[in-house]
Symmetry: D2
Subunit: 144 residues, 4 copies
Protein backbone atom coordinates (compact mmCIF):
# COMPACT_ATOMS: atom_id res chain seq x y z
CA UNK A 1 0.00 0.00 0.00
CA UNK A 2 1.36 3.36 -0.99
CA UNK A 3 1.25 6.48 1.15
CA UNK A 4 -1.80 8.75 1.00
CA UNK A 5 -1.61 11.43 -1.67
CA UNK A 6 -2.06 14.25 0.86
CA UNK A 7 -1.21 15.01 4.47
CA UNK A 8 -3.57 16.12 7.23
CA UNK A 9 -1.87 19.52 7.23
CA UNK A 10 -2.34 19.97 3.50
CA UNK A 11 -6.02 19.16 3.85
CA UNK A 12 -6.51 21.65 6.67
CA UNK A 13 -4.67 24.32 4.71
CA UNK A 14 -7.02 23.65 1.79
CA UNK A 15 -10.04 23.80 4.10
CA UNK A 16 -8.87 27.19 5.38
CA UNK A 17 -8.33 28.63 1.91
CA UNK A 18 -11.20 27.11 -0.03
CA UNK A 19 -13.95 25.93 2.32
CA UNK A 20 -14.71 28.82 4.68
CA UNK A 21 -17.67 26.97 6.21
CA UNK A 22 -15.30 24.43 7.75
CA UNK A 23 -13.82 27.09 9.98
CA UNK A 24 -17.28 28.53 10.69
CA UNK A 25 -18.53 25.12 11.80
CA UNK A 26 -15.39 23.92 13.57
CA UNK A 27 -14.64 21.14 11.08
CA UNK A 28 -11.08 19.91 10.59
CA UNK A 29 -9.29 16.86 9.26
CA UNK A 30 -7.69 14.72 11.96
CA UNK A 31 -6.60 11.50 10.25
CA UNK A 32 -5.92 10.10 6.81
CA UNK A 33 -4.78 6.78 5.37
CA UNK A 34 -5.04 5.54 1.78
CA UNK A 35 -8.76 5.55 0.99
CA UNK A 36 -9.75 6.61 4.50
CA UNK A 37 -10.27 10.02 6.08
CA UNK A 38 -11.56 11.20 9.46
CA UNK A 39 -12.82 14.74 10.05
CA UNK A 40 -13.94 16.18 13.38
CA UNK A 41 -16.65 18.61 14.44
CA UNK A 42 -15.64 20.57 17.54
CA UNK A 43 -18.75 20.83 19.64
CA UNK A 44 -20.29 24.31 19.56
CA UNK A 45 -23.81 25.18 20.66
CA UNK A 46 -24.49 27.19 17.53
CA UNK A 47 -24.80 23.95 15.55
CA UNK A 48 -27.18 22.19 17.84
CA UNK A 49 -30.86 21.75 18.48
CA UNK A 50 -32.39 22.25 21.95
CA UNK A 51 -30.81 19.91 24.48
CA UNK A 52 -27.35 20.12 22.91
CA UNK A 53 -28.17 17.65 20.14
CA UNK A 54 -25.80 18.18 17.21
CA UNK A 55 -28.10 19.07 14.33
CA UNK A 56 -28.50 16.85 11.29
CA UNK A 57 -27.10 19.34 8.80
CA UNK A 58 -23.86 19.53 10.78
CA UNK A 59 -23.55 15.75 10.53
CA UNK A 60 -24.22 15.86 6.79
CA UNK A 61 -21.62 18.59 6.36
CA UNK A 62 -19.12 16.51 8.27
CA UNK A 63 -19.85 13.39 6.19
CA UNK A 64 -19.53 15.27 2.93
CA UNK A 65 -16.17 16.71 3.99
CA UNK A 66 -14.94 13.26 5.00
CA UNK A 67 -15.76 11.78 1.57
CA UNK A 68 -14.07 14.70 -0.17
CA UNK A 69 -10.87 14.10 1.80
CA UNK A 70 -11.03 10.31 1.33
CA UNK A 71 -10.91 10.98 -2.42
CA UNK A 72 -7.93 13.31 -1.92
CA UNK A 73 -6.03 10.49 -0.21
CA UNK A 74 -6.04 8.68 -3.56
CA UNK A 75 -5.67 11.38 -6.19
CA UNK A 76 -4.48 14.45 -4.31
CA UNK A 77 -6.44 17.63 -3.67
CA UNK A 78 -8.97 17.96 -6.47
CA UNK A 79 -11.19 20.95 -5.67
CA UNK A 80 -13.47 20.25 -8.65
CA UNK A 81 -14.56 16.83 -7.44
CA UNK A 82 -18.26 17.44 -6.70
CA UNK A 83 -20.87 15.59 -4.69
CA UNK A 84 -23.30 13.78 -6.96
CA UNK A 85 -25.51 12.59 -4.14
CA UNK A 86 -25.36 11.91 -0.44
CA UNK A 87 -27.75 10.02 1.80
CA UNK A 88 -27.58 9.95 5.56
CA UNK A 89 -29.47 7.83 8.08
CA UNK A 90 -29.65 9.30 11.58
CA UNK A 91 -29.43 6.61 14.23
CA UNK A 92 -28.81 8.11 17.67
CA UNK A 93 -28.44 11.65 19.00
CA UNK A 94 -24.97 13.12 19.43
CA UNK A 95 -25.28 15.32 22.50
CA UNK A 96 -22.79 17.82 23.80
CA UNK A 97 -19.74 16.14 22.28
CA UNK A 98 -17.31 16.40 19.42
CA UNK A 99 -18.27 14.17 16.51
CA UNK A 100 -16.00 12.20 14.17
CA UNK A 101 -16.86 11.17 10.63
CA UNK A 102 -14.72 8.49 9.02
CA UNK A 103 -15.15 7.94 5.28
CA UNK A 104 -14.00 4.76 3.55
CA UNK A 105 -13.59 4.89 -0.20
CA UNK A 106 -15.03 1.77 -1.87
CA UNK A 107 -14.53 2.82 -5.48
CA UNK A 108 -12.61 5.45 -7.35
CA UNK A 109 -13.18 5.13 -11.06
CA UNK A 110 -12.39 7.36 -13.97
CA UNK A 111 -15.54 9.39 -13.46
CA UNK A 112 -17.18 8.44 -10.18
CA UNK A 113 -16.03 7.78 -6.64
CA UNK A 114 -18.09 6.19 -3.88
CA UNK A 115 -17.63 6.08 -0.11
CA UNK A 116 -19.51 5.17 3.04
CA UNK A 117 -19.16 7.18 6.25
CA UNK A 118 -19.52 6.24 9.92
CA UNK A 119 -20.22 9.05 12.40
CA UNK A 120 -19.53 8.61 16.10
CA UNK A 121 -19.07 10.76 19.18
CA UNK A 122 -15.39 11.39 19.74
CA UNK A 123 -15.26 9.53 23.05
CA UNK A 124 -17.21 6.43 21.99
CA UNK A 125 -16.20 4.91 18.65
CA UNK A 126 -18.60 1.98 19.04
CA UNK A 127 -21.81 4.01 19.22
CA UNK A 128 -22.84 4.87 15.69
CA UNK A 129 -24.59 8.24 15.53
CA UNK A 130 -25.27 8.27 11.79
CA UNK A 131 -24.17 6.60 8.59
CA UNK A 132 -23.88 8.10 5.12
CA UNK A 133 -23.18 6.92 1.59
CA UNK A 134 -22.16 9.26 -1.20
CA UNK A 135 -21.02 9.29 -4.80
CA UNK A 136 -18.83 12.04 -6.23
CA UNK A 137 -18.18 13.01 -9.82
CA UNK A 138 -14.52 13.45 -10.69
CA UNK A 139 -13.22 15.97 -13.22
CA UNK A 140 -12.16 14.60 -16.61
CA UNK A 141 -8.81 12.99 -16.91
CA UNK A 142 -8.56 10.55 -14.02
CA UNK A 143 -7.68 6.98 -14.81
CA UNK A 144 -9.50 3.93 -13.46
CA UNK B 1 -58.48 22.21 2.35
CA UNK B 2 -57.92 23.61 5.78
CA UNK B 3 -55.47 26.36 6.70
CA UNK B 4 -51.88 25.43 7.55
CA UNK B 5 -51.31 24.66 11.20
CA UNK B 6 -48.65 27.35 11.56
CA UNK B 7 -47.82 30.77 10.12
CA UNK B 8 -44.57 31.90 8.52
CA UNK B 9 -43.99 34.19 11.50
CA UNK B 10 -44.46 31.38 14.01
CA UNK B 11 -41.96 29.26 12.12
CA UNK B 12 -39.36 32.02 12.04
CA UNK B 13 -39.85 32.69 15.74
CA UNK B 14 -39.25 28.97 16.38
CA UNK B 15 -36.15 29.03 14.18
CA UNK B 16 -34.80 31.96 16.20
CA UNK B 17 -35.42 30.30 19.56
CA UNK B 18 -34.61 26.67 18.81
CA UNK B 19 -32.45 26.38 15.69
CA UNK B 20 -29.55 28.81 16.10
CA UNK B 21 -27.84 27.54 12.95
CA UNK B 22 -30.65 28.99 10.84
CA UNK B 23 -29.67 32.50 11.83
CA UNK B 24 -25.97 31.64 11.41
CA UNK B 25 -26.59 30.39 7.88
CA UNK B 26 -29.18 32.96 6.84
CA UNK B 27 -32.05 30.48 6.57
CA UNK B 28 -35.64 31.63 7.01
CA UNK B 29 -39.12 30.44 6.14
CA UNK B 30 -40.76 32.46 3.37
CA UNK B 31 -43.92 30.55 2.42
CA UNK B 32 -46.23 27.88 3.71
CA UNK B 33 -49.40 26.16 2.53
CA UNK B 34 -50.92 22.91 3.79
CA UNK B 35 -48.28 20.24 3.20
CA UNK B 36 -45.89 22.68 1.50
CA UNK B 37 -43.11 24.90 2.84
CA UNK B 38 -40.47 27.10 1.24
CA UNK B 39 -37.34 28.21 3.07
CA UNK B 40 -34.69 30.58 1.74
CA UNK B 41 -30.92 30.80 2.06
CA UNK B 42 -29.71 34.40 1.86
CA UNK B 43 -26.52 34.29 -0.17
CA UNK B 44 -23.41 34.74 1.97
CA UNK B 45 -19.87 33.90 0.89
CA UNK B 46 -19.15 32.04 4.10
CA UNK B 47 -21.30 29.15 2.87
CA UNK B 48 -19.77 28.78 -0.53
CA UNK B 49 -16.97 27.01 -2.33
CA UNK B 50 -14.48 28.87 -4.54
CA UNK B 51 -16.28 30.69 -7.37
CA UNK B 52 -19.29 31.56 -5.23
CA UNK B 53 -20.86 28.12 -5.54
CA UNK B 54 -23.25 27.51 -2.66
CA UNK B 55 -21.83 24.46 -0.90
CA UNK B 56 -23.64 21.16 -0.75
CA UNK B 57 -24.06 21.12 3.02
CA UNK B 58 -25.89 24.45 2.87
CA UNK B 59 -28.31 22.95 0.38
CA UNK B 60 -28.82 19.88 2.58
CA UNK B 61 -29.45 22.11 5.60
CA UNK B 62 -31.99 24.08 3.62
CA UNK B 63 -33.77 20.93 2.43
CA UNK B 64 -33.93 19.48 5.92
CA UNK B 65 -35.41 22.70 7.30
CA UNK B 66 -38.02 22.76 4.51
CA UNK B 67 -39.19 19.23 5.32
CA UNK B 68 -39.39 20.05 9.02
CA UNK B 69 -41.62 23.04 8.30
CA UNK B 70 -43.76 21.12 5.78
CA UNK B 71 -44.57 18.72 8.64
CA UNK B 72 -45.43 21.68 10.89
CA UNK B 73 -47.99 22.86 8.34
CA UNK B 74 -49.98 19.69 9.09
CA UNK B 75 -49.50 19.05 12.80
CA UNK B 76 -48.17 22.32 14.21
CA UNK B 77 -44.69 22.95 15.56
CA UNK B 78 -43.34 19.62 16.81
CA UNK B 79 -39.73 20.15 17.84
CA UNK B 80 -39.23 16.44 18.50
CA UNK B 81 -39.92 15.34 14.96
CA UNK B 82 -36.50 14.07 13.83
CA UNK B 83 -34.92 13.32 10.50
CA UNK B 84 -34.72 9.58 9.88
CA UNK B 85 -32.84 9.93 6.61
CA UNK B 86 -32.26 12.44 3.86
CA UNK B 87 -30.82 11.98 0.39
CA UNK B 88 -29.88 14.79 -1.93
CA UNK B 89 -28.88 14.72 -5.60
CA UNK B 90 -26.90 17.75 -6.74
CA UNK B 91 -27.79 18.73 -10.29
CA UNK B 92 -26.43 22.18 -11.15
CA UNK B 93 -24.34 24.75 -9.29
CA UNK B 94 -26.08 27.61 -7.48
CA UNK B 95 -23.71 30.54 -7.86
CA UNK B 96 -23.86 33.87 -6.12
CA UNK B 97 -27.61 33.80 -5.51
CA UNK B 98 -30.19 33.19 -2.84
CA UNK B 99 -31.54 29.64 -2.94
CA UNK B 100 -35.09 28.43 -2.26
CA UNK B 101 -36.04 24.95 -1.06
CA UNK B 102 -39.68 23.93 -1.40
CA UNK B 103 -40.74 20.76 0.39
CA UNK B 104 -43.91 18.87 -0.51
CA UNK B 105 -45.25 16.41 2.05
CA UNK B 106 -46.37 13.16 0.39
CA UNK B 107 -47.21 11.23 3.52
CA UNK B 108 -47.79 11.99 7.16
CA UNK B 109 -48.60 8.83 9.07
CA UNK B 110 -48.81 8.06 12.74
CA UNK B 111 -45.08 7.46 12.98
CA UNK B 112 -43.39 8.54 9.77
CA UNK B 113 -43.62 11.52 7.43
CA UNK B 114 -42.11 11.74 3.94
CA UNK B 115 -41.43 14.70 1.67
CA UNK B 116 -39.57 15.58 -1.49
CA UNK B 117 -37.78 18.90 -1.93
CA UNK B 118 -36.95 21.00 -5.00
CA UNK B 119 -34.12 23.53 -4.69
CA UNK B 120 -33.79 26.44 -7.11
CA UNK B 121 -32.05 29.78 -7.31
CA UNK B 122 -34.40 32.49 -6.14
CA UNK B 123 -34.57 34.25 -9.50
CA UNK B 124 -35.10 31.16 -11.68
CA UNK B 125 -37.71 28.67 -10.40
CA UNK B 126 -37.38 26.47 -13.49
CA UNK B 127 -33.71 25.61 -13.05
CA UNK B 128 -33.46 22.80 -10.54
CA UNK B 129 -30.25 23.04 -8.48
CA UNK B 130 -30.81 19.94 -6.36
CA UNK B 131 -33.53 17.57 -5.27
CA UNK B 132 -33.93 15.80 -1.94
CA UNK B 133 -36.15 13.16 -0.39
CA UNK B 134 -36.45 12.63 3.34
CA UNK B 135 -38.37 10.65 5.93
CA UNK B 136 -38.94 11.95 9.46
CA UNK B 137 -39.95 10.06 12.59
CA UNK B 138 -42.81 11.67 14.50
CA UNK B 139 -43.11 11.53 18.30
CA UNK B 140 -45.69 9.13 19.72
CA UNK B 141 -49.29 10.17 19.74
CA UNK B 142 -50.00 11.49 16.25
CA UNK B 143 -52.93 9.99 14.41
CA UNK B 144 -52.87 8.77 10.81
CA UNK C 1 -40.14 20.47 -27.89
CA UNK C 2 -38.93 17.78 -30.19
CA UNK C 3 -40.34 14.27 -30.42
CA UNK C 4 -39.02 11.57 -28.09
CA UNK C 5 -36.00 9.70 -29.43
CA UNK C 6 -37.77 6.32 -29.20
CA UNK C 7 -41.27 4.89 -29.48
CA UNK C 8 -43.10 2.72 -26.96
CA UNK C 9 -42.86 -0.19 -29.42
CA UNK C 10 -39.11 0.20 -29.80
CA UNK C 11 -38.70 0.19 -26.02
CA UNK C 12 -40.79 -2.96 -25.59
CA UNK C 13 -38.86 -4.68 -28.39
CA UNK C 14 -35.64 -3.79 -26.55
CA UNK C 15 -37.07 -5.07 -23.26
CA UNK C 16 -37.92 -8.38 -24.96
CA UNK C 17 -34.47 -8.81 -26.49
CA UNK C 18 -32.23 -7.43 -23.76
CA UNK C 19 -34.02 -7.41 -20.41
CA UNK C 20 -35.54 -10.87 -19.91
CA UNK C 21 -36.63 -10.06 -16.35
CA UNK C 22 -39.15 -7.54 -17.69
CA UNK C 23 -41.14 -10.34 -19.33
CA UNK C 24 -40.70 -12.53 -16.24
CA UNK C 25 -42.09 -9.80 -14.01
CA UNK C 26 -44.76 -8.49 -16.37
CA UNK C 27 -43.11 -5.09 -16.89
CA UNK C 28 -43.76 -3.12 -20.08
CA UNK C 29 -43.49 0.46 -21.30
CA UNK C 30 -46.87 2.13 -21.79
CA UNK C 31 -46.13 5.81 -22.39
CA UNK C 32 -43.29 8.11 -23.35
CA UNK C 33 -42.83 11.83 -23.93
CA UNK C 34 -39.60 13.83 -24.09
CA UNK C 35 -37.92 13.30 -20.71
CA UNK C 36 -40.83 11.25 -19.34
CA UNK C 37 -41.57 7.51 -19.36
CA UNK C 38 -44.24 5.33 -17.77
CA UNK C 39 -43.81 1.59 -17.29
CA UNK C 40 -46.43 -0.80 -15.93
CA UNK C 41 -46.30 -3.89 -13.72
CA UNK C 42 -49.13 -6.30 -14.57
CA UNK C 43 -50.32 -7.66 -11.25
CA UNK C 44 -49.19 -11.24 -10.64
CA UNK C 45 -49.22 -13.01 -7.28
CA UNK C 46 -45.70 -14.29 -7.74
CA UNK C 47 -44.37 -10.78 -7.06
CA UNK C 48 -46.31 -10.12 -3.91
CA UNK C 49 -46.10 -10.57 -0.17
CA UNK C 50 -48.92 -12.17 1.84
CA UNK C 51 -52.17 -10.25 1.39
CA UNK C 52 -51.48 -9.42 -2.24
CA UNK C 53 -49.12 -6.57 -1.45
CA UNK C 54 -46.81 -5.90 -4.37
CA UNK C 55 -43.33 -6.46 -2.97
CA UNK C 56 -40.78 -3.70 -2.63
CA UNK C 57 -38.27 -5.21 -5.04
CA UNK C 58 -40.91 -5.24 -7.78
CA UNK C 59 -41.47 -1.54 -7.22
CA UNK C 60 -37.72 -0.87 -7.33
CA UNK C 61 -37.42 -2.86 -10.56
CA UNK C 62 -40.25 -0.86 -12.05
CA UNK C 63 -38.70 2.46 -11.02
CA UNK C 64 -35.30 1.51 -12.41
CA UNK C 65 -36.86 0.53 -15.75
CA UNK C 66 -38.77 3.82 -15.90
CA UNK C 67 -35.60 5.88 -15.42
CA UNK C 68 -33.79 3.85 -18.07
CA UNK C 69 -36.56 4.57 -20.58
CA UNK C 70 -36.80 8.25 -19.62
CA UNK C 71 -33.13 8.54 -20.62
CA UNK C 72 -33.88 6.77 -23.93
CA UNK C 73 -36.49 9.41 -24.72
CA UNK C 74 -33.65 11.94 -24.92
CA UNK C 75 -30.73 10.06 -26.43
CA UNK C 76 -32.21 6.91 -27.95
CA UNK C 77 -31.75 3.36 -26.72
CA UNK C 78 -28.40 3.24 -24.92
CA UNK C 79 -28.05 -0.22 -23.39
CA UNK C 80 -24.83 0.72 -21.63
CA UNK C 81 -26.36 3.47 -19.53
CA UNK C 82 -26.07 2.01 -16.01
CA UNK C 83 -27.67 2.78 -12.70
CA UNK C 84 -25.26 4.60 -10.39
CA UNK C 85 -27.65 4.61 -7.45
CA UNK C 86 -31.34 4.40 -6.72
CA UNK C 87 -33.26 5.21 -3.55
CA UNK C 88 -36.88 4.40 -2.98
CA UNK C 89 -39.23 5.45 -0.18
CA UNK C 90 -42.23 3.18 0.32
CA UNK C 91 -45.33 5.14 1.28
CA UNK C 92 -48.47 3.00 0.99
CA UNK C 93 -49.14 -0.63 0.05
CA UNK C 94 -50.13 -1.46 -3.53
CA UNK C 95 -52.52 -4.36 -3.17
CA UNK C 96 -53.89 -6.57 -5.90
CA UNK C 97 -53.50 -4.01 -8.67
CA UNK C 98 -51.32 -3.12 -11.61
CA UNK C 99 -48.74 -0.47 -10.71
CA UNK C 100 -47.45 2.40 -12.86
CA UNK C 101 -44.05 4.08 -12.49
CA UNK C 102 -43.57 7.44 -14.18
CA UNK C 103 -40.02 8.77 -14.38
CA UNK C 104 -39.27 12.44 -15.02
CA UNK C 105 -35.76 13.29 -16.18
CA UNK C 106 -34.42 16.38 -14.39
CA UNK C 107 -30.91 16.34 -15.81
CA UNK C 108 -29.08 14.67 -18.63
CA UNK C 109 -25.47 15.75 -18.73
CA UNK C 110 -22.48 14.47 -20.58
CA UNK C 111 -21.81 11.81 -17.97
CA UNK C 112 -24.70 11.62 -15.55
CA UNK C 113 -28.50 11.61 -15.80
CA UNK C 114 -30.93 12.07 -12.92
CA UNK C 115 -34.64 11.36 -12.62
CA UNK C 116 -37.36 11.11 -10.00
CA UNK C 117 -40.11 8.50 -10.19
CA UNK C 118 -43.69 8.44 -8.91
CA UNK C 119 -45.35 5.03 -8.43
CA UNK C 120 -49.12 4.69 -8.26
CA UNK C 121 -51.74 1.99 -8.61
CA UNK C 122 -53.05 1.96 -12.16
CA UNK C 123 -56.58 2.94 -11.18
CA UNK C 124 -55.69 5.78 -8.80
CA UNK C 125 -53.05 8.23 -10.04
CA UNK C 126 -53.43 10.47 -6.97
CA UNK C 127 -52.42 7.88 -4.38
CA UNK C 128 -48.64 7.72 -4.29
CA UNK C 129 -47.41 4.20 -3.47
CA UNK C 130 -43.69 4.95 -3.56
CA UNK C 131 -41.24 7.52 -4.82
CA UNK C 132 -37.72 6.99 -6.14
CA UNK C 133 -34.75 9.08 -7.19
CA UNK C 134 -31.90 7.72 -9.27
CA UNK C 135 -28.74 8.79 -11.06
CA UNK C 136 -27.39 6.92 -14.09
CA UNK C 137 -23.94 6.99 -15.62
CA UNK C 138 -23.92 7.48 -19.39
CA UNK C 139 -21.32 5.92 -21.69
CA UNK C 140 -18.62 8.22 -23.02
CA UNK C 141 -19.43 10.49 -25.89
CA UNK C 142 -22.72 12.15 -24.98
CA UNK C 143 -22.84 15.91 -25.08
CA UNK C 144 -24.31 18.09 -22.33
CA UNK D 1 -24.00 -12.40 22.88
CA UNK D 2 -27.15 -14.47 22.65
CA UNK D 3 -28.06 -16.81 19.84
CA UNK D 4 -29.90 -15.46 16.80
CA UNK D 5 -33.69 -15.50 17.16
CA UNK D 6 -34.15 -17.65 14.04
CA UNK D 7 -32.32 -20.37 12.16
CA UNK D 8 -31.38 -20.44 8.48
CA UNK D 9 -33.90 -23.24 7.96
CA UNK D 10 -36.71 -21.26 9.57
CA UNK D 11 -35.92 -18.30 7.33
CA UNK D 12 -35.94 -20.40 4.17
CA UNK D 13 -39.23 -22.03 5.21
CA UNK D 14 -40.68 -18.54 5.66
CA UNK D 15 -39.33 -17.47 2.26
CA UNK D 16 -41.01 -20.50 0.66
CA UNK D 17 -44.38 -19.86 2.30
CA UNK D 18 -44.56 -16.05 2.26
CA UNK D 19 -42.17 -14.61 -0.33
CA UNK D 20 -42.79 -16.49 -3.59
CA UNK D 21 -40.46 -14.17 -5.52
CA UNK D 22 -37.49 -15.57 -3.60
CA UNK D 23 -37.98 -18.97 -5.19
CA UNK D 24 -38.65 -17.34 -8.59
CA UNK D 25 -35.40 -15.42 -8.38
CA UNK D 26 -33.27 -18.10 -6.73
CA UNK D 27 -32.81 -16.22 -3.46
CA UNK D 28 -32.14 -18.11 -0.23
CA UNK D 29 -30.70 -17.44 3.20
CA UNK D 30 -27.28 -19.01 3.73
CA UNK D 31 -25.97 -17.57 7.01
CA UNK D 32 -27.15 -15.79 10.11
CA UNK D 33 -25.61 -14.47 13.31
CA UNK D 34 -27.03 -11.98 15.79
CA UNK D 35 -27.63 -8.79 13.79
CA UNK D 36 -26.14 -10.23 10.61
CA UNK D 37 -27.66 -12.14 7.68
CA UNK D 38 -26.35 -13.34 4.33
CA UNK D 39 -28.64 -14.24 1.44
CA UNK D 40 -27.55 -15.67 -1.90
CA UNK D 41 -28.74 -15.22 -5.48
CA UNK D 42 -28.14 -18.37 -7.54
CA UNK D 43 -27.01 -17.17 -10.93
CA UNK D 44 -29.71 -17.51 -13.59
CA UNK D 45 -29.70 -15.78 -16.98
CA UNK D 46 -33.28 -14.64 -16.60
CA UNK D 47 -32.16 -12.01 -14.08
CA UNK D 48 -29.35 -10.55 -16.13
CA UNK D 49 -28.67 -7.89 -18.71
CA UNK D 50 -26.79 -8.65 -21.95
CA UNK D 51 -23.34 -10.04 -21.22
CA UNK D 52 -24.46 -11.96 -18.15
CA UNK D 53 -24.46 -8.93 -15.89
CA UNK D 54 -26.73 -9.51 -12.91
CA UNK D 55 -29.34 -6.77 -13.18
CA UNK D 56 -29.68 -3.98 -10.64
CA UNK D 57 -33.17 -4.93 -9.51
CA UNK D 58 -31.95 -8.42 -8.60
CA UNK D 59 -29.28 -6.85 -6.41
CA UNK D 60 -31.83 -4.57 -4.77
CA UNK D 61 -34.12 -7.54 -4.12
CA UNK D 62 -31.25 -9.42 -2.55
CA UNK D 63 -30.29 -6.48 -0.34
CA UNK D 64 -33.86 -5.96 0.83
CA UNK D 65 -34.17 -9.65 1.73
CA UNK D 66 -30.89 -9.54 3.66
CA UNK D 67 -32.05 -6.60 5.79
CA UNK D 68 -35.38 -8.31 6.49
CA UNK D 69 -33.56 -11.40 7.76
CA UNK D 70 -31.04 -9.38 9.78
CA UNK D 71 -34.01 -7.94 11.67
CA UNK D 72 -35.37 -11.47 12.21
CA UNK D 73 -32.09 -12.46 13.86
CA UNK D 74 -32.94 -10.01 16.66
CA UNK D 75 -36.71 -10.21 17.08
CA UNK D 76 -37.74 -13.40 15.29
CA UNK D 77 -39.75 -13.65 12.09
CA UNK D 78 -41.89 -10.52 11.85
CA UNK D 79 -43.65 -10.59 8.50
CA UNK D 80 -45.12 -7.12 9.02
CA UNK D 81 -41.79 -5.36 9.28
CA UNK D 82 -41.79 -3.22 6.12
CA UNK D 83 -39.14 -1.40 4.16
CA UNK D 84 -39.32 2.34 4.75
CA UNK D 85 -36.61 3.15 2.25
CA UNK D 86 -33.65 1.54 0.55
CA UNK D 87 -30.80 3.09 -1.37
CA UNK D 88 -28.27 1.16 -3.40
CA UNK D 89 -25.04 2.30 -5.05
CA UNK D 90 -23.84 0.08 -7.88
CA UNK D 91 -20.07 -0.18 -7.96
CA UNK D 92 -18.91 -2.99 -10.25
CA UNK D 93 -20.70 -5.48 -12.50
CA UNK D 94 -21.45 -8.97 -11.17
CA UNK D 95 -21.10 -11.20 -14.20
CA UNK D 96 -22.09 -14.83 -14.52
CA UNK D 97 -21.76 -15.62 -10.83
CA UNK D 98 -23.79 -16.19 -7.71
CA UNK D 99 -24.05 -13.05 -5.59
CA UNK D 100 -24.07 -12.74 -1.79
CA UNK D 101 -25.66 -9.90 0.18
CA UNK D 102 -24.65 -9.53 3.82
CA UNK D 103 -26.71 -7.15 5.96
CA UNK D 104 -25.44 -5.74 9.24
CA UNK D 105 -28.01 -4.29 11.59
CA UNK D 106 -26.80 -1.01 13.12
CA UNK D 107 -29.96 -0.10 15.00
CA UNK D 108 -33.13 -1.80 16.07
CA UNK D 109 -35.36 0.58 17.97
CA UNK D 110 -38.94 0.39 19.06
CA UNK D 111 -40.19 1.62 15.71
CA UNK D 112 -37.34 1.70 13.22
CA UNK D 113 -34.48 -0.61 12.26
CA UNK D 114 -31.49 0.30 10.11
CA UNK D 115 -28.93 -1.83 8.30
CA UNK D 116 -26.19 -1.55 5.71
CA UNK D 117 -25.57 -4.26 3.12
CA UNK D 118 -22.46 -5.37 1.23
CA UNK D 119 -22.94 -7.30 -2.01
CA UNK D 120 -20.15 -9.42 -3.47
CA UNK D 121 -19.73 -12.21 -5.98
CA UNK D 122 -19.75 -15.54 -4.19
CA UNK D 123 -16.18 -16.42 -5.11
CA UNK D 124 -14.59 -13.06 -4.27
CA UNK D 125 -15.62 -11.52 -0.95
CA UNK D 126 -13.21 -8.60 -1.33
CA UNK D 127 -14.68 -7.18 -4.53
CA UNK D 128 -17.68 -5.07 -3.59
CA UNK D 129 -20.36 -5.17 -6.29
CA UNK D 130 -22.85 -2.86 -4.62
CA UNK D 131 -23.68 -1.39 -1.24
CA UNK D 132 -27.08 -0.57 0.21
CA UNK D 133 -28.53 1.14 3.26
CA UNK D 134 -32.11 0.69 4.39
CA UNK D 135 -34.48 1.58 7.19
CA UNK D 136 -37.45 -0.62 8.11
CA UNK D 137 -40.54 0.22 10.11
CA UNK D 138 -41.38 -2.30 12.82
CA UNK D 139 -44.93 -3.14 13.87
CA UNK D 140 -46.15 -1.69 17.14
CA UNK D 141 -45.10 -3.36 20.33
CA UNK D 142 -41.36 -3.90 20.02
CA UNK D 143 -39.18 -2.62 22.78
CA UNK D 144 -36.02 -0.57 22.29
Amino acid sequence: MTAPAVTVDEVNTFFASDLPFCAEMGISCVYIAPGVATVRFDYDERWTRPGGMVCGPTLMTLADAAVYVAIFTRIGIVPLAVTNELKMNFLRPAIGRDVLATATLHKIGRRVAYASVDLTEDHDPDRLVAQATSSYMLPDGFAD
